[in-house]
C-alpha cells in the first residue's frame, strides 16, 4: 500500500493523496501551479521555468506514453514536486524508456497522486497562486500560516548554465548568443535548425562579454521566477538594446526585455500554463494557439514609447508580445518553440532570422 501524503495550501486547504516518485524525506514547500496541457508531461517536467514550483496536471491520466530522454527540455527536472490524478503504471509507446514513477525516482522528485486535482485547480483559480507543502504528517492550521511567507529565491541562478558553451551548426549563417535564464532545449534546436550556431551564456554574463562574442543576434530565453528580481540582468540588457543587435525574447526573456526598456511587470492571479492559449497578432488580426507557462506578465499600460504591443491574449487581453521601434527587437510571452504544445507560432524564429539578415545587409 502506498504511503499517504498530504498537500497543504496557504489558505488552509488540505488534500490527501498517495505517494509516488522519489521518497519524501522532508516536507517540500513550493508554489503550486496548474497546467491544462493534455500531452507533453515530459517536456513540462523538464522545463526549467517550473523551478520552485510544484505542478498540478489538470488532465487526469499522466504517464500514458512513458518517458523518453529525447523529449527532455533540459538536463532533468527542476520543479519541486509533481501532482497528478493518476499515473500510468504500464505506459505504451514505441519510444518509452521508463515509466513516470521511475523517472521521478531517478530525478529525486516526489509526487502525489489519487488526489482531486480538479478541486485543487479550482482552489488556485479562486484564491490565486499559493504556496503549498507536501508532507507525510497530517497538516495543522498552524503550519498553513507559515507557508505564505515562503518565496522562490534566486530562481534564475539555479537553472542557468554554469559556464558558456558553444553549439555549432552544420552550415552556420548566423551566430546567436543565447542568454540562458533556464532555457528550454527546443529553443536551441529551433535556432540550429535554421542554421544558427549558438553560444549559450549564463545569466550573469555582462553586455560587454556578450558583445565580445561578436554575435549576429541575441536570444533571450525563458526562465523561472519574478522577472523584477533580476536587476543586474535588466541593467546589462538595457545596454545591449542600444547596440542595434537583433534581439528576440521568449517568456522571461520577453519580460526582462520589457523591464530593460522601462516597462513594468505584474504577477497574474494564476498565470497561463497550458497548450491551448489563444493569442492575437495585432498587426494582422490572426489568431494563434500557443504553449504558455508564466505567472508574471508585462503590463500593457506600462509600455514605453519605443514599444508596441504586438500580441495579446484573447482570453484576458494581457500582453503576449512586444515589438520595439528603436532597435530590431521583439519578444513574446508564449513559447513559439513549443515542446510541449502547438507549433503554430514557430514562424517567429524565422522573423528573428529575418532581422539578422536585414542587419547583415545593412552592415555590409
Amino acid at each position: 500500500m502506498e504511503q499517504t501524503v498530504y498537500l497543504q495550501l496557504e489558505d488552509g486547504t488540505s488534500l490527501c493523496g498517495k505517494h509516488f516518485g522519489a521518497p519524501l524525506k522532508e516536507d517540500v514547500i513550493a508554489e503550486v501551479v496548474f497546467t491544462t496541457a493534455m500531452t507533453g508531461y515530459t517536456e513540462t517536467l523538464t522545463d526549467p521555468s517550473y523551478y520552485g514550483q510544484m505542478v498540478v496536471q489538470t488532465f487526469p491520466l499522466i504517464g500514458n506514453y512513458g518517458v523518453n530522454p529525447l523529449d527532455f527540455e533540459s538536463s532533468g527536472i527542476h520543479m519541486s514536486a509533481y501532482i497528478t490524478r493518476e499515473w500510468c503504471k504500464q505506459p505504451s509507446n514505441f519510444r518509452s524508456q521508463m515509466d513516470l514513477d521511475t523517472f521521478l525516482k531517478q530525478q529525486g522528485i516526489p509526487g502525489i497522486y489519487d488526489i482531486d486535482t480538479r478541486y485543487l485547480t479550482k482552489r488556485i483559480r479562486e484564491h490565486g497562486v499559493m504556496n503549498g507543502r507536501l508532507t507525510l504528517t497530517a497538516p495543522t492550521s498552524e503550519n498553513a500560516k507559515k507557508l505564505s511567507d515562503w518565496r522562490i529565491e534566486d530562481a534564475v541562478e539555479h537553472v542557468t548554465c554554469k559556464a558558456p558553451y558553444e553549439m555549432p551548426a552544420g552550415l552556420p549563417r548566423f551566430h546567436v548568443v543565447l542568454w540562458d535564464f533556464g532555457a528550454k532545449l527546443n529553443i536551441l534546436r529551433k535556432l540550429r535548425a535554421l542554421n544558427c550556431s549558438l553560444t549559450v551564456v549564463p545569466a550573469h554574463t555582462t553586455c560587454e562579454e556578450i558583445l565580445a562574442l561578436n554575435p549576429d543576434g541575441i536570444m533571450l530565453s525563458n526562465g523561472p521566477g519574478n522577472p523584477k528580481e533580476n536587476l543586474s540582468i535588466v541593467a546589462e540588457l538595457s545596454k545591449l538594446c542600444k547596440t542595434g543587435l537583433p534581439i528576440f525574447g521568449i517568456c522571461l526573456g520577453h519580460q526582462l526585455l520589457a523591464l530593460a526598456n522601462g516597462a513594468d511587470t505584474e504577477k497574474l492571479k494564476y498565470g497561463h500554463r497550458g497548450a491551448n492559449q489563444p493569442v492575437k497578432d495585432l498587426a494582422t488580426g490572426r489568431n494563434y494557439i500557443t504553449s504558455q507557462n508564466h505567472g508574471y506578465a508585462v503590463k500593457n499600460d506600462s509600455l514605453p514609447s519605443n514599444a508596441e504591443l504586438s500580441f495579446i491574449n484573447i482570453n484576458d487581453g494581457t500582453c503576449e508580445g512586444v515589438r520595439y521601434t528603436d532597435f530590431p527587437g521583439f519578444s513574446v510571452q508564449f513559447h513559439p518553440e513549443a515542446c510541449g504544445g502547438p507549433h503554430d507560432s514557430e514562424f517567429l524564429f524565422q522573423q528573428f532570422i529575418n532581422l539578422m539578415e536585414r542587419r547583415a545587409k545593412e552592415c555590409r
Binding site: P60, N68, N93, R118, P278, N287, A338, G340
Partner: protein, 1065 residues
C-alpha cells in the same frame, strides 16, 4: 469580421432520414446552426425530409419544408424562396452532395445563390478520391498507396503490384457503404464490383491495407481569416480496419506523446488550410504504432458524427461555431458559451476522458454478419465520461443497454480457450468482451496485442478491470477498496454480485463539470458527469445558481437503435422546453452524444450518465426534483419506472401502475375484458413444447414475441411448427426464463392512434392508417394521416375505445394505441401509455404541439382549458404519409423481408394536398427510383398467390414486362398475362440472380414462407436487389401503392410545396 452584410436569407439542407452512418447528429448540428443563424436576424429556410427532427419544427426556421431531398425538389424550393445563400456543411453527406450538385450544374449561380461553408472545389478536394490524393501530395501530406479506378481490372492490377490485402472504398457513399478489405483476387473482384455499383460516379479507391495502424482523428476548425484550431483528438481502440463509427473511441488520444500528437495536429491544420474550409472539418489519420510514419485516411469537410462526439466530449459547439463562421464571423468574435468569458478561439482542455461505445443492431438482426470492417454497422452510440478510461468504459458498456454492467460475459466465459481466441480474431462487435475474458484467463497483453493490434495501453486497462473482478471475489470490501472499485466504474449492484453478495455501505458519486477549459475559468453553462472523488461540484453549482424554481428531471432515451430512434429525443427535448416554459428548472439525464437533448443549453442542467437506477439515484439525491419524467424517453426511461416508484420518487404523468397494467399481459387482458374491447386471442408460454401446443390450438399463423418488447424485438409470425421451434430456440437462448407471448395473427387493416389524456378528457390529434396490413411492424409500415378509408362508424368506435382505454389506464399525458380491423371487427393489438414514434410526425402535420400539451397535462393543466378541444381533432386539409427507410445495404446477410420485427432505421414524410401526391413524395423522399417502364420480377409464397394476379395486372397495364418464378408464373399466366419464367438459383444459370444482374428488372416483389436464413434462395434474391439498388417490395400492399403512384404520373414539376410553418399558425 462581423456578419456578412450580403446575407439576408439562408437555406439549410438537412440530412434526411436516419440511416446507418447518418443519424441524429445532423439534427443536433442543424438545430444548432438554425439557432445560430436566427439569432443573427437572418431568415432561415430549412429543407429536410425527416419529420422526426427538432430542426423541422416550425420554431427552428422561418420556412420549413419536409420535402424529398432530391435536386428537383431543392431547385423548386430555391426558386420559390429565393435564398441568397445555402449552408452546405451541416446536413451530413446528403446535404453536402446535394449542395455540390446544385453548384456544379450552374443552378446556384443562375439563381444568384452563394454556397457557404465549403465550395465545390473544397468538396472535391475531400470527396473525389483522385483530387484528394493530388491535394495531399501537393501539400506534402502522406497518403496510403492507392489507385482510383472506374474498372474492376484497374483494381486488380493495382493489387498485383502492391500485394494483398487491399481496401476498397467507393467514392461518395455514406459511412463507407460498399467498401471492404480484400485478401485475394476473388474477394477483390466481388468487393470492387459492389463498390463500383454503389458509387454514384462509379469510382472506387483501392489502397494498400494498413490494418493494425493506430487510427487517430482530429476535429479542426478554420474561419475566413485563416485562423485554425483543433477542437479534439480521438483515438480508436480498434486499429485501422474497423470503421471509426464501429470502433470504441477514446478522447483525447492517449497513447501519443507530444511529438506524435503535435505532428498530427499540425498536419490536420495544414490540411484544413489547404482545403480552404471555412467551418469544421474532420481529419482521420493512420499512425504506424512503432514509428512516426503516418497517412491521411480521410477528410470530411463538414460537421460529422465525429464532430458531434467531439462537441459533446469537449463542450465546444462545433456546428454552432461553424455556422457563425460561414456567415462571416472570426473565431475571436464568437463567445464560448460554456465559460461565458472566453472566445471560440481556443482549444478545449479536458480533465476527464470520454469513451464512445457503438450500439449495433445485431441483437435484433440475428442473421446479419457481425464482423466489423470498413463499412459502418452501428445504428447509434453512447458516450461516457470518467476520470479514467476504466470508469468511462464501464459506464459506456452499461449505458449501451446490451445487458452488461461490466465486461465479464457469460457467453465468453463458456468458450474454450481456442474458441475464445477464434472469437477475438473474428473481429466482431463482441471482441471487447472476448479480450476481457482472455485477459481474465491469463492470456498476456503481448499475445493479445499481436493478435489484434489493439494498443497495449487499452489492454492493460482492461486487464486492470479483470484484476479488480478477481480481487472482488477474494478480498474484503474495505473502504479503500470500495473507493478504488468505484473509481474504476463498478456500480454497487455489480460489486455485490461479483463479490458473491458481500455487503458494504453505499459510497455516493460526486459530480464534476465539463467546462471546456480544465477548470481554468469558472463555467456558466457546464454539464456534469459522475465520478468518485473529493469535491462535488454540482451541489455548489446548484446552490450558486439557485433560481427558486422547482426541479424536474427528464430521462432521455439512450442510444439510437432500431425501434427507438430520434423520435424519442424529439419528445424529450420538447418536454424539457415545455417544462421550462411552465416555470420549472429542468434537468436532463442522457448518454447519447448525437442528440439535441444532450446539447449544453437544451435543459438547465445536463448529466451525461447511463440511464440505470444506480446511475440516476445520486442525481436525484442532489437535484431533489419535485417530479421525474419517464414518458418521453422510450423503453430506456420506462425501464426506470418501477425503481422510481419503489423508492417513492414522484413520476409526473401516468402512474407506474398503469404502465405495468399495459405491459403485463394478464392485467391488460382483464382490463380489456372489463371494457368489452376485443384483442387477438393468445396466451403465455415458457417452453417450445407449450408454444407448439398453443400455436396449434390458436391455428396458424401465430405471432410470437417475448414479453416486454421494444420495436418488435424478436417478434415473428410463425406459419408452421418448424417456425415456432426455430424461434423458441433463439428467443430462449437470448433471455432465459422470459415469458413468450403467442397470439393469433389477425390479417387486416392496422390503425394507430396517439392521444393525450388529462384523466378526465382525451384529445386525439389524429388517426393513422397503415398501408401495409397488420403483421408488418408499425414502424416499418407506410402510415397515412388522416386515415383514408375508415367509416364514420369505425372512426367513432376507435375514438370511443381510445378514450376509454386512456381513461381507465389513468393516463396523464400521451398514449399510443394500435388497432387492427379484421372481419369488420376492431381489435386492440398494443397500448403504450407513453410517447411513441409517431408523435413528432403527427405534431407536425396537425399543428398540435403534442409533447407540450402532454407535459402541461402531466403538470396538472386540463385539456378543456386549452384551445385544442377534446375528442378527435378535425382532420388536416393535408395528407401526410410516413414512409420507412432502411439501411439494408450496410447489413450483409440480413433478410430484407418486412414482418413483425422492425427493421427500418428512419423515415421520411410526404405531405401534400392529396394522398396520391403525398405518397409520391414519400416514396421519392425514401429513395425509390420511380421508373415508369421496364421489368418486374415477382416471386411470392403460396399464401400470397391469391392476391398476386391483381397486382401483376397493375404493373402489366403500366407496360412492365413480368418475370416470375415457376409457381408465381403459373398463377399469373392462369390469369391471362404474359410472364417470362425465371429459374431458381440452383436450377439453372439463367436464374433470378442473373436476371437481376442483367439490368432488365426495375422492381421486385418477393415474399417467402420462410426466410431469414441467408442461405435461402429468396433471401439471396432480396440481398442481391439491395446490392444492385433495385427496389424490392416484400409487402403486397406497398407494391399496390407503388403501382398506383407510377400510374399517377406525378413529377417534381407537378408537385406542390408545403411550408410546415404555415400549417401551425
Amino acid at each position: 469580421m462581423p456578419l456578412n452584410p450580403n446575407l439576408k436569407k439562408v437555406m439549410v439542407i438537412g440530412s434526411g432520414p436516419i440511416v446507418i452512418g447518418q443519424a441524429a447528429e445532423f439534427d443536433y448540428a442543424g438545430t444548432q446552426a438554425c439557432r445560430a443563424l436566427k439569432e443573427e436576424g437572418l431568415e432561415v429556410v430549412l429543407v429536410n425530409s425527416n419529420p422526426a427532427t427538432i430542426m423541422t419544427d416550425a420554431a427552428m426556421a422561418d420556412h420549413v419544408y419536409v420535402e424529398p431531398l432530391t435536386l428537383d425538389f431543392l431547385k423548386k424550393i430555391i426558386k420559390k424562396e429565393k435564398p441568397d445563400s445555402i449552408l452546405s456543411t451541416l446536413g451530413g453527406q446528403t446535404g453536402l452532395t446535394l449542395s455540390m450538385q446544385l453548384a456544379k450544374d450552374g443552378f446556384l449561380e443562375q439563381e444568384g445563390v452563394t454556397l457557404l461553408g465549403a465550395n465545390p472545389e473544397t468538396i472535391d478536394k475531400a470527396e473525389d478520391r483522385q483530387t484528394f490524393k493530388n491535394t495531399m501530395e501537393a501539400i506534402g501530406e502522406p497518403v496510403i498507396p492507392s489507385v482510383v479506378t472506374n474498372t474492376l481490372e484497374g483494381a486488380v492490377s493495382f493489387a498485383h503490384t502492391t500485394g494483398y490485402p487491399v481496401i476498397v472504398r467507393p467514392a461518395f457513399t455514406l459511412g463507407g457503404t460498399g467498401g471492404g478489405i480484400a485478401n485475394n483476387e476473388s474477394e477483390l473482384r466481388e468487393i470492387a464490383a459492389a463498390g463500383l455499383r454503389l458509387s454514384p460516379i462509379t469510382q472506387i479507391l483501392v489502397e494498400k491495407c494498413i490494418a493494425g495502424w493506430k487510427e487517430i482523428e482530429f476535429e479542426v476548425m478554420r474561419d475566413g481569416g485563416g485562423n485554425v484550431i483543433t477542437i479534439c483528438s480521438m483515438e480508436n481502440l480498434d486499429p485501422v480496419g474497423v470503421h471509426t463509427g464501429d470502433s470504441i473511441v477514446i478522447a483525447p488520444a492517449v497513447t501519443l506523446a507530444d511529438k506524435e500528437y503535435q505532428m498530427l495536429r499540425s498536419a490536420a491544420l495544414h490540411i484544413i488550410e489547404a482545403m480552404g474550409i471555412e467551418g469544421g472539418c474532420n481529419v482521420q489519420f493512420a499512425l504506424h504504432p512503432e514509428s512516426f510514419e503516418y497517412a491521411v485516411i480521410e477528410v470530411n469537410p463538414r460537421v460529422s458524427r465525429s464532430s458531434a462526439l467531439a462537441s459533446k466530449a469537449t463542450g465546444y459547439p462545433i456546428a454552432r461555431v461553424a455556422a457563425k463562421i460561414a456567415i462571416g464571423y472570426r473565431m475571436d468574435e464568437i463567445k464560448n458559451e460554456i465559460t461565458g468569458k472566453t472566445k471560440a478561439c481556443f482549444e478545449p482542455a479536458l480533465d476527464y476522458v470520454v469513451v464512445k461505445f457503438p450500439k449495433w443492431p445485431f441483437d435484433k438482426f440475428v442473421y446479419a454478419t457481425r464482423k466489423l470492417g470498413t463499412q459502418m454497422k452501428a445504428t447509434g452510440e453512447v458516450m461516457a465520461i470518467g476520470r479514467n478510461f476504466e470508469q468511462a468504459l464501464m459506464k459506456a458498456v452499461r449505458g449501451a443497454e446490451i445487458s452488461h454492467d461490466c465486461l465479464a460475459d457469460a457467453k465468453m466465459r463458456a468458450l474454450s480457450d481456442d474458441a475464445l481466441i477464434e472469437k477475438i480474431l473474428a473481429g466482431d462487435d463482441e471482441r471487447i468482451f472476448g479480450l476481457y475474458e482472455a485477459l481474465y484467463r491469463g492470456f498476456t497483453v503481448e499475445k493479445l496485442h499481436s493478435l489484434t493490434m489493439v494498443d497495449e495501453w487499452f489492454l492493460e486497462k482492461i486487464l486492470h478491470l479483470c484484476e479488480l473482478e478477481k480481487r472482488l471475489g477474494a478480498d474484503e470490501i474495505t473502504p479503500d477498496f470500495l473507493r478504488e472499485l468505484k473509481q474504476n466504474g463498478f456500480p454497487d449492484k455489480t460489486i455485490s454480485r461479483l463479490s458473491g453478495g458481500k455487503t458494504f455501505p453505499h459510497l455516493p458519486y460526486v459530480y464534476k463539470m465539463v467546462d471546456t477549459c480544465g477548470a481554468e475559468f469558472a463555467a456558466e453553462t457546464p454539464y456534469f458527469y459522475s465520478t468518485c472523488d473529493e469535491e462535488d461540484e454540482a451541489e455548489s453549482f446548484i446552490a450558486e445558481h439557485a433560481s427558486q424554481k422547482p426541479v424536474v428531471i427528464v430521462f432521455g432515451s439512450g442510444p439510437i437503435r432500431i425501434g427507438q430512434g430520434i423520435e424519442f429525443d424529439y419528445a424529450s427535448v420538447h418536454c424539457v422546453w415545455a417544462l421550462k416554459e411552465a416555470g420549472y428548472e429542468v434537468v436532463i439525464v442522457n448518454n447519447n452524444p448525437e442528440t439535441v437533448s444532450t446539447d449544453f443549453n437544451t435543459a438547465d442542467r445536463l448529466y451525461f450518465e447511463p440511464l440505470t437506477p444506480e446511475d440516476v439515484a445520486d442525481i436525484i439525491r442532489i437535484e431533489k426534483p419535485v417530479g421525474t419524467v419517464v414518458a418521453f424517453g422510450g423503453q430506456t426511461a420506462i425501464r426506470l419506472t418501477k425503481w422510481l416508484s419503489d423508492n417513492n420518487i414522484p413520476i409526473l404523468g401516468t402512474p407506474a401502475d398503469s404502465i405495468d397494467a399495459a405491459e403485463d399481459r394478464g392485467r391488460f387482458e382483464a382490463l380489456l375484458k372489463e371494457l368489452h374491447i376485443r384483442q387477438p386471442e393468445g396466451t403465455t408460454v415458457h417452453t417450445a413444447q407449450e408454444a407448439l401446443e398453443a400455436a396449434n390450438r390458436l391455428g396458424y399463423p401465430v405471432l410470437l414475441r417475448p414479453s416486454y418488447v421494444l420495436g418488435g424485438q424478436n417478434m415473428i409470425i410463425a406459419f408452421s411448427d418448424a417456425d415456432v421451434k426455430e424461434y423458441m430456440d433463439i428467443i430462449l437462448s437470448h433471455m432465459e426464463g422470459n415469458l413468450v407471448l403467442i397470439d393469433k395473427y389477425m390479417m387486416g387493416t392496422e390503425l394507430e392512434v396517439d392521444a393525450i389524456c388529462d384523466g378526465e378528457d382525451v384529445l386525439l390529434p389524429g388517426i393513422m392508417e397503415h398501408i401495409d396490413r397488420a403483421g408488418i411492424h408499425s414502424g416499418d409500415s407506410i402510415a397515412v394521416y388522416p386515415a383514408w378509408n375508415l367509416s364514420p362508424a369505425k372512426t367513432a368506435k376507435l375514438v370511443d375505445y381510445s378514450t376509454r382505454l386512456a381513461l381507465s389506464l389513468h393516463t396523464k399525458g400521451l398514449i399510443n394505441i394500435q388497432y387492427v380491423i379484421s372481419g369488420g371487427q376492431v381489435y386492440v393489438i398494443e397500448v403504450n401509455p407513453r410517447s411513441s414514434r409517431t408523435v413528432p410526425y403527427l405534431s407536425k402535420v396537425t399543428g398540435i404541439p403534442m409533447v407540450d400539451i402532454a407535459t402541461r397535462v402531466m403538470l396538472g393543466e386540463k385539456l378543456k382549458d386549452m384551445p385544442y378541444g377534446t375528442g378527435l381533432y378535425p382532420a388536416s386539409a393535408h395528407t401526410a404519409i410516413k414512409v420507412p427507410v432502411f439501411s439494408f445495404e450496410k447489413l450483409a446477410g440480413l433478410d430484407t423481408t418486412l414482418g413483425p420485427e422492425m427493421k427500418s432505421t428512419g423515415e421520411v414524410l410526404g405531405i401534400a394536398p392529396t394522398m396520391t401526391e403525398a405518397l409520391y413524395k414519400g416514396l421519392v423522399g425514401a429513395g425509390y427510383q420511380l421508373t415508369h417502364k421496364g421489368g418486374i420480377l415477382i416471386t411470392v409464397r403460396d399464401t400470397d398467390k391469391g392476391e398476386i394476379p391483381e397486382i401483376a395486372q397493375r404493373f402489366a397495364d403500366l407496360g412492365f414486362h413480368l418475370y416470375a418464378t415457376e409457381g408465381t408464373a403459373k398463377v399469373i399466366r392462369e390469369h391471362g398475362m404474359q410472364a417470362t419464367l425465371v429459374h431458381k438459383i440452383h436450377e439453372s444459370e439463367h436464374n433470378t440472380i442473373a436476371l437481376l444482374e442483367s439490368g432488365k428488372v426495375n422492381y421486385i416483389i418477393s415474399t417467402s414462407a420462410k426466410g431469414r436464413i441467408p442461405a435461402r434462395d429468396s433471401v439471396k434474391v432480396r440481398r442481391k436487389s439491395v446490392e444492385l439498388g433495385i427496389p424490392c417490395l416484400t409487402s403486397l400492399d406497398t407494391a399496390v401503392a407503388l403501382a398506383d403512384i407510377i400510374k399517377s404520373g406525378y413529377t417534381p414539376e407537378k408537385a406542390t410545396l408545403v411550408d410546415i410553418c404555415t400549417l401551425q399558425k
